[in-house]
Amino acid sequence: ADYSPFLGIEKGAVLQEARVFNDPQLDPRRCSQVITKLLYLLNQGETFTKVEATEVFFAVTKLFQSKDIGLRRMVYVMIKELSPSADEVIIVTSSLMKDMTSKTDMYRANAIRVLCRITDGTLLTQIERYLKQAIVDKNPVVASAALVSGIHLLQTNPEIVKRWSNEVQEAVQSRAALVQFHALALLHQIRQNDRLAVNKLVSSLTKGSVRSPLAQCLLIRYTSQVIRESANNNQAGDRPFYDFLEGCLRHKAEMVIFEAARAITELNGVTSRELTPAITVLQLFLSSSKPVLRFAAVRTLNKVAMTHPMAVTNCNIDMESLISDQNRSIATLAITTLLKTGNESSVDRLMKQITNFMSDIADEFKIVVVEAIRSLCLKFPLKHRSLMNFLSNILREEGGFEYKKAIVDSIVILIRDIPEAKESGLLHLCEFIEDCEFTYLSTQILHFLGIEGPKTSDPSKYIRYIYNRVHLENATVRAGAVSTLAKFGAMVDTLKPRVFVLLRRCLFDNDDEVRDRATLYLNTLGGDGAVVETGEDVKEFLFGSLDIPLVNLENSLKNYEPSEEAFDINSVPKEVKTQPLAEKKAPGKKPTGLGAPPAGPPSTVDAYEKLLSSIPEFANFGKLFKSSAPVELTEAETEYAVNVVKHIFDGHVVFQYNCTNTIPEQLLENVTVIVDASEAEEFAEVASKPLRSLPYDSPGQTFVAFEKPEGVPAVGKFSNMLRFIVKEVDPSTGEAEDDGVEDEYQLEELEVVAADYMLKVGVSNFRNAWETMDADCERVDEYGLGPRESLAEAVNAVINLLGMQPCEGTEVVLNNSRSHTCLLSGVYIGNVKVLVRLQFGLDGPKDVAMK
């Protein structure tokens, strides 16, 4: 049964066989067979050496002598597979050009495809005339071949292909479905940077009748694009082209119906009235007998449920029957959609169905379900008991690391956010680490127990679980367990004697990290194991948050060279550098970081600090507190481009003006900025450092320093004037004339604002940090922000105004939410820690309650 015509095929032998291509009397049938064998070898992943490929290529070119059509087809395919080099292409060019002008349509279509695939720009101009003709050829196969080749060539030779747009436009009107599709795709790509032209194209085609379903799908995509781009300047009234999209929902091809339904659900700020017809169509697809339709529909509805859960609830019954779909992708999508749209009363029933389902899906699907359950639990906190039980049950079952991590993360988040779930959640985690094969998860959980355990009603019950780890685990987990034990000892005075007994046993551990930790804790916690309170400063020293970004600490430690001088933690910059969104939200992560976060970009603060301290005038200003991002003081593309960086010191402010001269014919000398500080009363100019010379296109800096009251966040407005001596430059020699003229150039104003005195410093656990702060420092205020474009816009505006670091991803506002809480943290000048909890509400005039 396992017979194959290629059994025992061998490359060397086939290459030998290829010699028949050189026979004076060609046997087309035999030649075709040999080409098939060569193609088979290539298809199986065999490769030809350069020499072999060249040899085969030359032999194949001989086959153009044969008139056999079948053989010619194989020759075309073979040439494309060999992707010949430029000097080889020349050999076949004339043969292919002959075929391109042949009377046989099949030759013409294929020769065009082959030639366009292997050609370079120079040859293209020679054949351009034929290609333009081919585009409007009456044979659809020839026209499509030319159009598709045009789409490929547009990437490499856009200027040539753009010249064909008249012919392409004509082809859009073709009666042949596929020609219309290819022509529309090419025409749009030619015009894609011309918004007006695309707009016109869409307007005219949406009125007429596009015959091909594929072309209709393209038109729907282009229409969505036009809607998206026109949305900004067309606020009121009906959405343009919506009627066209809705009309496509009644198209006879499912492909088009679905494309239109999906396009409607993805409209920016889609209303429920606009959504309804699309949802109705998708709902019908849900009960289709074709898995692909069910999949496409449920996948789209799943996305809709994230932003418009109410719109999808009508489909819940259909969705529930999909839980038992044979196709597990469909079932998973159905479940997660239901979890997003379900109401409180349906939770228990859903959970029962999911439990059966979980055992026969792969980990990747399980993770999706776990995440959906977590969101559900946060939505319906009253259901925490059954949801938490579900999570702990699946935690005990088999599963890989990513899956287990998703479950643990979810439990941790639920414990944090739902106080009633805390005790049961902690016990579930304790039981899990009794038999956990992943070191990473064990240490995370131990650390988390150290934070939450001491705050529970009966902290002592966790001690046993933690101490068991010291006996049974590897060194990393043992060290983590020691730290957690110590934390219980420090936080719960009554437990201290027992913890001391346990810690003393750890002094004999065979791992030095474990012993060192135990020794450190025994010596610092104090009281020698008596029931006494642990000092606040000790707690802060041992368990306080590090206050500096780990990336910065890592960099500083790497740069530290061992010397007499001890490493000074205060030398580590506190400014948070642009933080990739992905690495936020690492619940229960150790402050000392088991898996160090990826290193951020190198700090520019260092560079500024070095620069400023090298200027004698500024050397005695003390430590640089903060440098702002550059603020542009000129419009783009003006003669001189200037931006300013504000450097804040305790008692001084230095403006660093970065200037660029964009005129090749000019050399600027003695460049200064004259600053008028009349609207900034608390500031007094103390120094100015001019820039000697500013040649064309090589940026330079000039500085102005101001004194201000020490430690006071003085604000003010400064107007700036660039003053310089301008000299003409001969562009040919690059030499400047000797005489220059004094000139001035007005720059935009600059402001020193409160945010300049604020450092973006994140905290690892906002809630803990908030609770540990003195209640006396708390201020609560309410502000009306007036009408705003959207909640997200308001949140961003306030964050920028305050210049603080958003924590725990709270700067992201969910679409369509009516309220939002945003957590911010920072360090104010004078090293004052500041935490802000912003509550935004959306009700008529937008009020902001600020805590």
């Binding site: 049964a1 194959s4 015509p5 290629f6 075709s32 080409i35 098939t36 193609l39 298809n43 992943g45 490769t47 079948g70 087809r73 194989m74 075309y76 395919v77 494309k80 046989t104 349509d105 099949m106 279509a109 495809r113 695939r117 044979n139 196969v141 499509s144 071949a145 598709v148 080749s149 789409i151 490929h152 596929l178 599709f181 290819h182 795709a185 749009h188 790509q189 594929l214 799908c217 393209l218 282009y222 694009q225 499912e254 492909m255 679905f258 999906r262 007998s289 074709k290 898995p291 692909v292 339709l293 496409a296 019954i317 529930e320 029957s321 038992s324 044979q326 196709n327 597990r328 992708s329």
Partner: protein, 203 residues
């Protein structure tokens, strides 16, 4: 990039080995990466398909209902196209005898467009092999299969989806009007092919 594009078309045997494949995307830079993709895709889809027999009855909302819904028992529907998300691609596939047909597209591609391509390939192969669609027949007519792939997609862009046209271009010695394989005979051949498939499946 708003034009639908095909990332690859795969024809594998019942052990996941290649019969014929064509990649149009450079996401798979070399042969070993391609083979690894084919192997894991094959394994994954094997598992889902192997379940078919176990799920004749399902409990839905507390009721036991027969899985095969009305309208699904026709011969054509027995040979359904399945779909899966795999490594951030959408893959549609169809199995018949010891041949496994796959078409891969981007994650955000319209699933039904991919199905059209798969169906075009599948039916065209059925026509070209005159109804005997299995590995042996496919390998013996590998030239036809390769030409067929060449006529369906060009550099990722869908060239033709109508099985009759595809098969006509491959099998005929000319695509001129006076082609020996007229529309009529092709649709007849297609009908025979379908019948044959259905019969071999119902065995």
């Amino acid at each position: 990039e708003s034009c639908p594009s095909i990332k690859n078309i795969l024809l594998l045997d019942s052990e996941g080995n290649r019969v014929a494949v064509k990649y149009y995307s450079d996401e798979w830079p070399n042969n070993s990466v391609k083979e690894a993709f084919e192997k894991s895709l094959f394994t994954k889809t094997q598992k889902t398909n192997a379940r078919t027999e176990d799920y004749v009855f399902n409990e839905v909302g507390g009721r036991v209902i027969p899985w095969i819904e009305p309208g699904r028992v026709s011969n054509e529907d027995l040979n359904t196209t399945e779909i899966a998300m795999f490594e951030s691609h959408i893959i549609v596939y169809k199995f018949v005898q010891d041949l496994h047909f796959f078409v891969t597209g981007a994650e955000n591609e319209n699933e039904l467009i991919l199905v059209t391509v798969l169906q075009g390939f599948f039916d065209a192969v059925g026509l070209l092999l005159r109804g005997t669609v299995d590995k042996k027949e496919a390998l013996e007519n590998l030239d036809l299969i390769l030409l067929c792939l060449d006529e369906i997609v060009d550099g990722g862009i869908i060239l033709e989806t109508d099985a009759n046209v595809i098969a006509g271009k491959v099998a005929s010695h000319s695509i001129d009007a006076a082609a020996p394989l007229s529309e009529q005979t092709i649709s007849q051949a297609l009908a025979t092919a379908r019948e044959h498939l259905a019969r071999s499946l119902l065995k």
